[in-house]
Symmetry: D2
Subunit: 401 residues, 4 copies
């Protein structure tokens, strides 16, 4: 048993076969993919990698599994079943991000292949197959868990690995991104949330849910996601450099199909991209090197009702400056619970004091109130072509028409 220090979860324990899987080049490569891409240009210490996140997801997922087992041994058929599912969920969490390309989202936008497809190709590689056999899990089960829950014969594990709500991925990254950026928002009551996880039987299927005493922790968990979007993930500096990076990547990879062979894909990581941009003369390459802010925010509207003002401003700006305007419009559901109580759609189930199991929005007025989306709408202008003060003046006027 190997023991690794982690500042978020303290100690993380690894079986020897798991440690060997982690030592393969495909997984070591995750050390060169930053969890938050270019966010370090706004939050300098956000330099943590997908590798440390994979370990963190492993840690938190294992704690979740052990808690589910402790309160729901009846959902497992035997000690062998328990041991198998535990090995399986751990292997899947180690591997869950292995298909990401350099600067993940920018790469997908430019190259056009989804990281899930890369994941399948990587799982199929002989050395990964050999390590999964060594860990003694079926690689098809691993793939099913990582790629979604529909097809898995382990539906609760699938929710834990890749579900939209209570997945170990998010349980780790919110805490981790908060820890490494220094932004408090992503912290939630993880001990209480993990301690409240339960398996319930709903309409004949086992589903992931939480004990009623954990409702406040669940609320804090759902809000943490919003807080991190608002503070970090949609920070204007991050958004701007991600756009600049896409321009640089299009230059770097004029034919994105060159990255299709998985061998070639695996030869790319954040470090290599930055390295290849070092000697390039283009504007985006230089901007990334010297943190040149090519764009400025002319106006910003985050309330739902501001859509009209946003559209008026965009129109006015475009009239004045044409394609030197960039309208960045992001939105996120405040939570991913389905809007109707469709029994097929995954929600978060919560037990009540009377013994019933209900949708989280029934159990919490706060969660019910959080229905809908949050918006982050920004109008950027190119500094090289636009007088920023004038652009801001145009927006002020257009907004209040």
């Amino acid at each position: 048993m190997k023991r690794i220090y982690d500042p978020v979860h303290h100690f993380i324990e690894l079986e020897p076969a798991e440690a060997r899987l982690l030592d393969t080049p495909a997984l070591q490569r995750l050390r060169r993919l930053r969890q938050l891409g270019l966010a370090y240009l706004a939050f300098p210490s956000a330099e943590h990698s997908r590798f440390s996140h994979a370990l963190g997801a492993l840690a938190v997922g294992t704690r979740a599994f052990d808690e589910l087992l402790h309160h729901g041994r009846q959902f497992f058929t035997s000690e062998d079943d328990v041991a198998y599912q535990r090995r399986l969920v751990r292997a899947a969490l180690i591997l869950h991000d292995v298909g990401h390309g350099p600067f993940s989202h920018a790469c997908e936008a430019v190259v056009g292949v989804r990281h899930e497809d890369r994941t399948l190709a990587i799982l199929a590689r002989p050395e990964i197959q050999a390590h999964l056999a060594d860990i003694d899990v079926d690689s098809q089960h691993v793939a099913d868990l990582i790629l979604g829950q529909g097809q898995s014969q382990f539906p609760v594990l699938a929710e834990l690995v890749s579900g939209p709500n209570l997945d170990a991925d998010r349980m780790d990254y919110l805490q981790r991104d908060a820890y490494f950026t220094g932004v408090a928002g992503g912290k939630y009551d993880a001990d209480q949330l993990l301690g409240s996880l339960r398996i319930f039987q709903v309409e004949g299927r086992p589903v992931l849910g939480i004990d009623r005493r954990g409702v406040v922790a669940l609320e804090s968990f759902l809000l943490a996601r919003y807080m991190m979007f608002a503070s970090v993930y949609f920070h204007h500096t991050t958004r701007m450099f991600e756009r600049i990076l896409q321009e640089a990547l299009r230059e770097l990879w004029p034919d994105p199909r060159l990255l299709d062979p998985i061998d070639e894909f695996l030869r790319w990581d954040d470090f290599r991209v930055l390295n290849e941009l070092r000697d390039r003369d283009s504007i985006p390459a230089r901007a990334l090197r010297e943190r040149v802010r090519l764009y400025a925010v002319a106006a910003e509207f985050n309330a739902e009702r501001d859509l009209k003002a946003f559209e008026r401003c965009e129109k006015a700006l475009r009239k004045a400056y044409g394609d030197a305007v960039w309208a960045d419009e992001q939105s996120q559901l405040l939570h991913r619970l389905p809007l109707q109580a469709d029994p097929k759609a995954p929600t978060i189930w919560v037990s009540t004091s009377s013994g019933a199991v209900v949708d989280a929005r029934e159990a919490s007025d706060l969660i019910a109130k959080l229905t809908g989306k949050a918006y982050w709408r920004k109008l950027f202008v190119e500094r090289a072509r636009v007088d920023v003060a004038e652009a801001r003046r145009i927006c002020r006027e257009a907004a209040h028409t």
Copy 2:
């Protein structure tokens, strides 16, 4: 300059005259009033006093003041004005809780005098007057700040000391109660909130507000209050022992007017109450000594829509058990922003990117969605007179009728 360690705010500095004020018996008495009353019966380490909270409010209020000054020196007429207001807000924060009786809310419920009235009586005492003169502040100004903002000539300070939204009282106690209970919920991004405080001129009056970059911190601050109500302040064990305490206090003070003279009032604190209960034979006295849970929760309903079910259950229980049923119905506004944009009502003002100053609900969809109340409704039954399992069965049935 005296330096005191505080685990929440690290160092707290005191002027000699402030330290002398703190050493008076009226303020030392706050060491024997616990900030969270009987909550330690549910959260064993919640033993912190109103004294450490007064120091904490002083620390956070001073940081707030310094931030307001840094960004709004134009709102102060002179260096003397700055120095006077700083001394004033500090003195008011030291004294803001001095009128609380033993176990605060329970005492008020039984004795029927509001702590604000006690505060005035204590401020009028000669030794306190002397110390305020020594600090060089007008005691009437101090009283105005503590008792509400209407009459104060320092409206921004009044909001900071006793306002409904952005007061230093709450800024400290949420963090402090979270720190000492071990419940994560009360943490919010205090650095960012404090760094975003601003004075704005709205309709000709200076008001307390926040810079738009602090909106996420403001959201986390408003939510922290809800989280602490849900986890700690309305915890069923705390609520139960507070009720038992009220019975004990009625026994201890058959004539509550005996506490009216302020000299007598100041001779009472939590420690004395517990001491006087030590040798009493009554049921509530013994229950407090041995943590006997005289009541059990028969049913609990926290969603707004559950009112009907709650009423049905209460009715069914009362039919079965009469006055052995205790219906504990608590609610709290999710935030204290006024429901209409009444320019007279205190709200939180937020600056926008266009330079306007708007209500916080305009600046944040999240805050807008949080309009309304949260409910904590519990039906307790007396264990001595009721079969708890049967009571729960009655509720399950009544709830689903």
Copy 3:
């Protein structure tokens, strides 16, 4: 299984029978004994009780036990033996401080009965005996663990409960006192220390020790104790008020034998003492109420070599001021490892890379260098009878003669 929040150890779990033991008046009384006595007069938030410490010792001791078991199951004869020892060590830790009087050390100094004797008397009470039977442990075994290791048939547990080096008592209180005072010094790498605990067989006896990878954590643990003595436990304000308290207690208990009957003893706690001092007119009573510093530090010498200067200053002060001088001389071994490698004396055993087990001073040069004592020598003078500036001048002169 009951779950309690604790800010130091997060969740603490209790068996129902353990919770019932904690609800007895003898244990609830610990809520009214502060862990650090009067230190709150120097560190305002150090208001935590021996009750929360008892829970903390239970938590950390259980983690230690589980770690010892995980790495040394061969030292246990059966599953029943494991379960029994676990119940036993938990019961002993819950009870380990039950014999303390109000303000512990001051009380012992005045009353002259050691808290260990009180402990035995309390363990003998029928309600405690009944609860221990309910938990299913032998009360004699509990007493043996609490009172020292010589006689116990569970020598490793005895080290864990009351040993001089690696006891759960200290493992909790260093962290806890650091957390509640806000002084960083008492923190050590608790995760690593606990994870390194092992049982070794030395000279035919099982002894408590640590794995070599935990040596740095052990060093930090030993140093944490020194840091807390230097910062908190021997702080001049604490020392001064402890002396004043002794004077007050002598006045309060002119015949200390009145506290001998255990029933009477259990009727006393910190809260009652403070309460009884409320209306007293004596100088010490008033000093405690208003935090009047009756003494001032005239000189302070902490280095070993300063003994001569200390003695010269004391002599010069006594000549000038007679019994208005108080020489407070404290010392502590930097660690409690025995000075010679006496195989009978308890030390901390450490495993080496070659498989041998050696004394901690052999395994760590740092610990070896820390041999000897630390000194805290202070000369106080009574402010009422002495000109403090003059006394300091006398000391400066005498020191440099």
Copy 4:
């Protein structure tokens, strides 16, 4: 004024001219130099860069400067002098690590040019000169501060930037490395240490020192350095991969003089090195890619007295395995205070209660006891050529001869 989040120091403020200096390629390059080199192979989350450390040193150095000023305004000649020195110390701290090469120590070992020389060359570059002029500091003063204190006309600032004891560099990196590795050891009481910094006049020169109330914080600071050496900096995995890296760098740079031109030097960073190793077939390149542990620890001796055993084991191993043995012998002074009280040698000065200023070892017995070195001696063997179990057996035998 720009505000940056930092998880260690919360907010860091930058003047616009400072922000522009940070945006130059020479400083952005520090984002691609990891503060702890290859330690991430043992502590996965130790991925923080010299860039975030430079910001941290700036933050902590500014707090130190402000504290020195607050207590020692008499050491500054005018407000202009204050403002100049503050700008100067900030510029120097931003730039203090700018001369480091990829993987710092490994690079120096292979290339043979000290980072101080690189620093001078970088400071001489026109764009850096222009930015320093923009900040309004003399670049020669900056160089003097970074490169050592002998020649500086600001001796106290020189101690703060590059002194052997109380430098902002160490004040940041101990906390930062502890935060990012998750190892507790590097934490010390930074608030208390910073709050105790003072300028003293010793033998006619102003020197950096600390107020006596900060002695315990100073002790914790000195020990933190030892703790981090023992836990992190000399961790066997880190040491092994640093050796492997040196082999890889020798292969990569057969002629290290190619890096001499500063333009070429600045084109290298950790990311590029790792990138260039991606497709190499050599053993060290592959070992770094797949975390292949080419060496195993055969024996380890950390106590001073073990030198003889270490030498015997090395001899025995060499006899058996020749150059397949690697003896890694590291040592560090426990503190850097000079061994004799040479008034010329830099020590840490501490004020006493009598008003004198003494060497830290006089003020603290603990520091006095820590005189001397700590040792970390490891015998590694190459796994490819040596039977590790046999090598360990040889060592066990040789050690006990």
